[in-house]
Symmetry: C2
Subunit: 312 residues, 2 copies
């Protein structure tokens, strides 16, 4: 059994996007076993999530264990820390343990890029981003590897964070702007921990694609429910999205009917579903799938230095 | 983060039994968060199970990942291999990874010993065992640490295995016997991978306590359903037992009504439930709980040598 700290030498986004697209295709064909992720709340704050999955075709099996604790920043620790255990599909033995903290942000960014590739109204885009944390950065990096990004419009609750992020993407004419202005774009990504809607329906014009990334637990939401009602919502996984995605709060308050879900990203990737017209507003509701974690873990260890550990 | 191979220096059974009894007490008081274990079937054979849990009072959180693959023996590998990840309850960070292959057998043995301590008709017992594998050995070792074992009667499908096991417990007058004779005892433990009943109702006399250990997945069973109907069945965890314990097959065929479950082992440990009379037949239906894995992992690393691993 090997341990991979994966502190550097991350795989490049074109490869990551390709690997993530491939597992969404497996998901779209129904060729994976993936129970919904399990949440266990810890007593003072935060939770940890357990995400097992198995993909028969590429022969990948394993479990990601990931925590979310907003108070970690004050302790000098990441909010999100993750470990993926890869399992030998023949024997069931654990064969590799991978530090998946950075990989978690990357595979989430790649899912947004894959969604934008298939659902964006055009291939040369203006990218709007709401939130300026680590996840937003990964979303931008993955998206510029998938599409031509002509301009980036950044909004964050803290203007200083927005400006700092924008300055790192000067090559893409990134600027810190008002939230309404950021929403005036071709592809909008939201990646905040918000529990109340930030993006109002009237700010989004026809043809926009939105990657709704932040909501990944019950009670979280970033979009005006009116926007969900008039948009075509694609989810990563139906049961996870209903439980903890962008649609979870509107479903629980009766403002969104899960029968209206337009399809899954996997179905979009295999060509079974698509945006209905150039004018439609499309939303990708991302909760994060265990199969994404297996894919990026397998990719990351290919050129990574590991520690041999005695097992069993 | 530390890795503990735990290849030797296992904690002694009196300590293990005490630790396991303590977490069953927490479970009996409802003081734990433990979603039912999740099964993922692998394609050729076998499966892996993911078991998260959190015990607020002792401050233990984590996940065990364990596979079961009957074909591993032919490969020179254990049928069951397990890894436990302990999580810091304050930050959510993984703090220790523990080889739990041997610990899994030990904590299961200890659950049987705790059940026998509370449900056996007397403290000096004749112990009957059905099956002669690693799990049976752990059950015997744990039981002799909890009760006075005057005699052991061993039955296994392979007489040679039964004789080999008996020879290792000569100090307890262990002998290989017929299955009917093994069933004539005070405490009977069954630990086979059987999917059809092995122990017939007419072989079990009044007052016997049975530890039904083998059935831990849908389709598995070791006991005559008639025996379940007339016995008082205590489970480790209600939903797990209904899904995958000894009662799972009789429930699915309508031969056992889950409303008849007499209680949980945790409720027995805290004195809320007990055998109704000295003549009753009691059964402990064990599926194996994640909280047992957390308890024994925390105990095992106390005097164990570990490897420091860079994380995050």
């Amino acid at each position: 059994m090997m341990y991979y700290p994966v502190h550097s030498g991350y795989p490049p986004y074109p490869e990551v996007n390709r690997a993530i697209e491939a597992v969404f295709a497996e998901h779209g064909r129904g060729d994976c076993r993936m129970p919904p992720k399990i949440y266990v709340a810890l007593v003072r704050s935060g939770d940890f999530r357990t995400m097992p999955a198995y993909l028969p075709k590429p022969g990948l099996a394993g479990v990601k264990i990931v925590n979310v604790n907003p108070h970690n920043r004050a302790r000098g620790l990441p909010t999100v820390m993750a470990l993926t255990v890869l399992i030998d599909v023949e024997t069931g033995a654990p064969e590799a343990i991978i530090n998946a903290t950075e990989l978690t942000a990357m595979r989430t960014g790649a899912a947004g890029a894959v969604a934008a590739k298939y659902l964006a109204p055009r291939q040369a885009i203006t990218l709007g981003v709401i939130g300026a944390g680590r996840q937003t950065e990964a979303l931008i990096d993955a998206t510029v590897a998938a599409l031509t990004v002509e301009e980036i419009r950044v909004w964050s609750r803290t203007a200083k964070s927005a400006e700092a992020l924008a300055s790192r993407y000067a090559d893409y004419s990134a600027r810190s702007v008002s939230i309404e202005h950021a929403c005036d774009c071709d592809v909008l990504t939201t990646a905040t921990p918000s529990t109340t809607p930030l993006v109002m329906a009237e700010w989004i014009h026809e043809g926009t694609h939105i990657n709704a990334i932040g909501a990944d637990a019950p009670g979280k939401q970033e979009l005006d429910p009116v926007l969900l009602q008039k948009a075509e919502v694609f989810v990563d996984d139906r049961s996870q999205a209903i439980h903890s995605g962008e649609i979870n709060v509107p479903i629980s308050t009766g403002r969104y009917n899960p029968d209206r879900i337009a399809g899954t990203l996997g179905e979009v990737v295999i060509g079974k579903k698509k945006r209905s017209s150039p004018d439609a507003i499309t939303i990708f509701d991302s909760t994060g799938l265990a199969i994404q974690d297996l894919a990026i873990a397998a990719l990351a260890i290919q050129n990574s230095e590991g520690y041999e550990l005695p097992f069993p």
